[in-house]
């Protein structure tokens, strides 16, 4: 019974913690701009993050090796260091975007000044990390983020053409679009792949597995969390896209602000719906801020072999503590410069996709290494999906920057 509760909680946490500001913004924009035509990219990328998430959790449970330890061993010092520096920059930018998003949602709820709310929310998040152990942090944000289910309820209420929605799951490129829009379509496709397969998610997930001392008996929970949990979480993002296609596309509204996405629930359910959507967004986005802040510290501490983890008290892993505190301070400073949080989201999305091949290669190599993994080495399915997605990520990484500049970040 305890095991079943544990698995259910794990899945629910994954569902509630799946959507962050980048998925929220890009799903709503993609739905408004291309209707249901990009649903398949969300579904497709979810298979990728499910595969790599499962692999990183299995490696954490069996080899007890966190991602950045592996990265240094397998990529070597030079390439590992390049990845560390790049991922720390991207994670910090993403953390700033999430703090900015949290402040925007709080601003909508309270009407208080944005900068003050950014400072207050950063201080509260840091206090939560300082005072609570890993499991509580992960569970509380994940479970409160479940309020995002209101977006799925809104989809049912809005009664889309389900046949057209189902067709959206079929890989497609809308050939009727003019060439200029096709390039924007490609940019959104790459951005969604990046948003769903953000590197920090694997750093955080595998480090969490080690924090919670996963063992082979936890592999079932790992498999269910990364398949069912991530799958249902992705479905929430798809619902945001469907709602945007129904509500915003006919009116040519470009939902660039997170608050616009909340209207997807406000329109069918009124004020109560709006508050519930904002509440869900608040915990989903602030939870992602915690994950990105901690991921930076995990990466640096693991790369240099320091003590790390939130299962230790702050003074027991001092350099790790210093690293996450510094990340939050820099991220807050970025927000306070006045840079638009959505600009930060775009930068983090584009630079993340360039990092993805470097992040996932060591996982594939260790997952196939019988010396580390013994009988739990990658199976044929895991390898097949893993290498296929690796090829996709290489193409996405090469295309990301040119597409970003050609489309001016999807604006043309």
């Amino acid at each position: 019974m305890g095991g079943l509760i544990e698995i259910t909680l794990g899945i629910m946490t994954a569902v509630g913690g799946f959507v962050d500001i980048s998925e929220l913004v890009f799903a709503a924009q993609a739905g408004s701009r291309f209707g249901f035509a990009l649903i398949w990219v969300f579904a497709f990328s979810t298979i990728g993050i499910g595969c790599y998430g499962e692999m990183s959790g299995r490696i954490a449970a069996i080899a007890k090796q966190p991602v950045f330890n592996l990265m240094r061993q397998r990529l070597g010092l030079r390439l590992g260091l390049v990845t560390l520096v790049a991922s720390s920059i991207v994670n910090t930018i993403t953390c700033a975007a999430e703090i900015g998003g949290t402040a925007l949602v709080l601003h909508l709820l309270t009407g208080w000044p944005y900068a003050l709310l950014a400072v207050l929310s950063t201080l509260v998040l840091m206090a939560i990390i300082w005072l609570t152990p890993f499991k509580w942090i992960e569970r509380s944000f994940g479970l409160l983020g479940l309020a995002m289910i209101c977006f799925a309820v809104a989809t049912v209420k809005l009664a889309p053409n389900w046949g057209a929605v189902a067709f959206g799951f079929v890989p497609q490129i809308p050939t009727a679009l003019p060439a200029k829009d096709l390039v924007v379509f490609a940019y959104f496709a790459v951005a969604i792949v990046s948003a769903v397969m953000f590197p920090y998610e694997t750093y955080f997930y595998s480090s969490g597995g080690i924090e919670e001392n996963w063992k082979p008996k936890d592999l079932k929970t790992n498999r269910l969390t990364t398949s069912v949990g991530f799958g249902l979480g992705s479905l929430l993002a798809i619902c945001i896209m469907i709602n945007a296609a129904i509500l915003f596309r006919p009116l040519h509204i470009d939902p660039q602000l997170p608050g616009t996405a909340a209207l997807e629930v406000a329109i069918p359910f009124g004020k109560a719906g709006l508050l519930l959507a904002l509440f869900g967004m608040l915990f989903a986005i602030s939870g992602a801020a915690v994950e990105t802040g901690l991921s930076t510290a995990y990466s640096i501490a693991q790369f240099f072999g320091w003590e790390w983890g939130r299962y230790k008290r702050p003074h027991e892993a001092p350099r790790f503590t210093f690293a996450w505190v510094t990340t939050f301070v820099i991220a807050l400073a970025l927000v306070l410069t006045g840079i638009d949080p959505l600009q930060l989201v775009e930068w983090s999305i584009v630079f993340s996709v360039v990092l993805l091949p470097l992040t996932y290669l060591p996982l594939l190599l260790i997952g196939n290494d019988r010396k580390y993994m013994g009988e739990y080495v990658n199976g044929r399915l895991s390898n097949g999906i893993g290498w296929f997605f690796y090829a996709v990520l290489l193409v996405a990484a090469l295309a990301a920057l040119p597409l970003y500049f050609i489309t001016s970040g999807g604006q043309t």
Binding site: A63, K64, Q65, N69, R72, Q73, G76, L77, R78, G80, L81, W130, L131, F303, F304, G305, W306, E307, W308, R313, P314, H315, E316, P318, R319, T321, F322, Y372
Partner: protein, 117 residues
């Protein structure tokens, strides 16, 4: 010892996590020190840890940058206190015995003064 063995050792030991006898993480094997003379077999004499050790493996500009940020410190861990290697390098002594975790120990004292730490 076969001719290829020392090189294999180098590639398999370098960049591994080091843990002390209490299971605490205390750095990464940044470089290996070898002993030997022309015509003799090379033997591993120590594991080197610290920015001064890994910076040597980087291009010169990065070497200077790291020296500026993290210093040139190297801690020498004698090979005879390496107990076993199994995905990590396990030491038979506490980290402090060989001078590892100095920065940690300094920071611990400061952090202990912060409430709820």
């Amino acid at each position: 010892m076969r001719r290829g063995d020392p090189l294999k050792l180098l590639s398999e030991v370098r960049d591994l996590q080091i843990v002390d006898k209490d299971g605490r993480n205390c750095g990464i094997c940044d470089e290996i020190e070898l002993d030997g003379a022309p015509g003799e077999a090379l033997t591993v004499s120590a594991v080197l840890v610290g920015p001064g050790a890994y910076a040597r493996r980087l291009p010169r500009w990065a070497h200077r940058l790291i020296a500026h940020i993290a210093g040139r410190g190297i801690v020498r861990v004698p090979w005879d206190i390496v107990e076993k290697i199994s995905g990590r390098i396990h030491l038979s002594v506490a980290a402090e015995t060989v001078g590892l975790r100095r920065t940690e120990d300094r920071l611990i004292e400061r952090l202990k003064q912060v409430p709820f730490s």
